[in-house]
């Protein structure tokens, strides 16, 4: 009896200490969401401006750039998957990876061979465990991506997408897709697949993206721009930056989503731990009570035995 009480007490203690870890994680994740959201907000002016500049350029230049035009020939499509570095985030990674599998299936149906690029250690282990080839992995920044991280990823993808004429085209791809988790709200994060390249130019003309419609003059006539250097050279310089900006935005959203899922997962884990500790302490109390009752009945029984032994004399 005493043994089971001790075992119960030990379990209560360990449950309570795990609960402390969970709630600490929850608090950290909560703070990170706020920061991640602030960074998403802070990156918006640039994204808005670069979209505006690109729309202006698109209206003026004849759009001849590999990043804008459909390519065929290699039959390969790059897929960038954004996962987290650490677990403890509920179904966050599973959802992204499932969405990726869907996309890979669709690509294969279209006769394209997907090439994987993975952000985050969780995605890396997922594919290496299944012995699936991964072209390149980027790890160590999933919770707090910096622009330089997006640049590294962007450079790798743009290189395979637009290899120079002299470069051998064996590693080249026709399309670049990205799968990340969109941060809709604190409660809803949706795994999303987007095509990064060739770019969908219809997005540029979208008035919603353009805010107040500043690139059309007051009269509603598109402004005619002067260009320094030529529009084509500008487009060459601008497009890779635009793609990198898109990747950066995706990484930031994924980071916010990751923290949100982690907070939710940790919240339910600490709630569970609390519940468990409560049940265990009930059992422990019962065991303690049973022990006391037994001790009393042993004493009473012993006294009775002594009394009856004396009466016989």
């Amino acid at each position: 009896m005493a043994g089971s009480l001790r075992a119960l007490r030990r379990r209560i203690r360990s449950t309570q200490s795990t609960k402390k870890i969970f709630s600490a994680q929850e608090l950290i994740a909560g703070a990170r969401i706020v920061r991640a959201q602030a960074r998403v907000e802070a990156s918006k002016p640039y994204a808005r401006e670069i979209t505006r500049v690109l729309s202006a350029l698109a209206a003026s230049a004849s759009l001849e750039h590999p990043l804008l035009n459909e390519q065929t020939g290699t039959g390969r499509a790059a897929v960038l998957v954004v996962t987290s570095d650490r677990g403890f985030a509920g179904s966050y990674n599973v959802n992204v990876l499932r969405r990726t599998e869907e996309l890979l299936g669709t690509l294969r149906q279209q006769g394209k061979e997907p090439v994987l690029y993975v952000v985050g250690r969780k995605g890396e282990t997922y594919y290496s465990f299944r012995d699936r080839p991964v072209e390149q992995t980027f790890t160590g920044f999933s919770e707090q991506p910096a622009y330089s991280d997006a640049q590294d990823v962007g450079r790798a993808l743009i290189d395979v997408f637009t290899p120079g004429d002299d470069a051998d085209r064996s590693g080249a791809v026709d399309e670049v897709h990205i799968v990340y988790t969109e941060f809709k709200s604190l409660l809803a994060q949706v795994p999303t697949a987007r095509r990064l390249a060739p770019m969908d130019t219809s997005e540029l003309e979208d008035p919603a993206e353009d805010g107040e419609g500043r690139n059309t003059g007051d009269s509603g006539v598109p402004t005619s721009y002067e260009f320094e250097p030529s529009p084509e050279a500008l487009l060459d310089a601008l497009l890779p930056k635009y793609v990198t900006t898109r990747i950066y935005a995706a990484l930031l959203e994924a980071a916010a989503s990751e923290s949100a899922s982690r907070r939710r997962a940790m919240k339910s884990a600490s709630d569970n731990a609390e519940e468990l500790a409560k049940n265990l302490s009930r059992q422990a109390n019962q065991a303690r009570q049973a022990e006391i009752t037994q001790e009393i009945s042993e004493i009473v029984g012993g006294a009775d035995a002594l009394v009856s032994a004396g009466a016989d004399d």
């Binding site: 002016p45 401006e49 505006r52 320094e228 250097p229 529009p231």
Partner: protein, 129 residues
């Protein structure tokens, strides 16, 4: 007097925004000064460039802007940069250190880009060549 609505935005945040009477920048084609009601223009900033914004109070805001674009519309001027820093926030010692390191690293593209970034920061801080 007419003024320019100027926004200097880096990827990670907005660096400066407000009213100005003139913006001086260097595009790949050459130095350019933008006054109010300038014709609409799109330009690529020269690598290692410095942007000067003259505010309506007559003060100069100098910033190092790297890898950026200049867009002039009837509504205002926006300067887009991958990285940008206001002169007063630049740590001269660190920029020098970065420049020295980048110069020693040889001439792979990364090091050259880093060297240009460091140079533009020094130039913006008024310490450059």
């Amino acid at each position: 007097m007419a003024t320019l609505q100027v926004e200097l935005v880096a990827v990670e945040r907005t660096i400066w925004s407000g009213e100005a009477s003139m913006v001086i920048a260097r595009t790949t084609e050459g130095e350019i000064g933008v006054l109010p009601s300038h014709a609409p223009l799109l330009g690529e900033l020269a690598p290692g460039g410095v942007v000067t914004i003259r505010t309506t109070e007559g003060q100069d805001v100098v910033a190092a802007a790297h890898g950026g674009f200049l867009s002039v519309t009837p509504q205002g001027v926006s300067i887009l940069a991958e990285t940008a820093e206001i002169a007063s926030e630049i740590d001269v010692e660190r920029a020098r250190e970065a420049l020295r390191r980048a110069e020693q690293a040889g001439d792979d593209p990364e090091a050259l880009a880093a060297a240009r970034r460091a140079q533009s920061r020094l130039r913006a801080a008024g310490q450059g060549d």
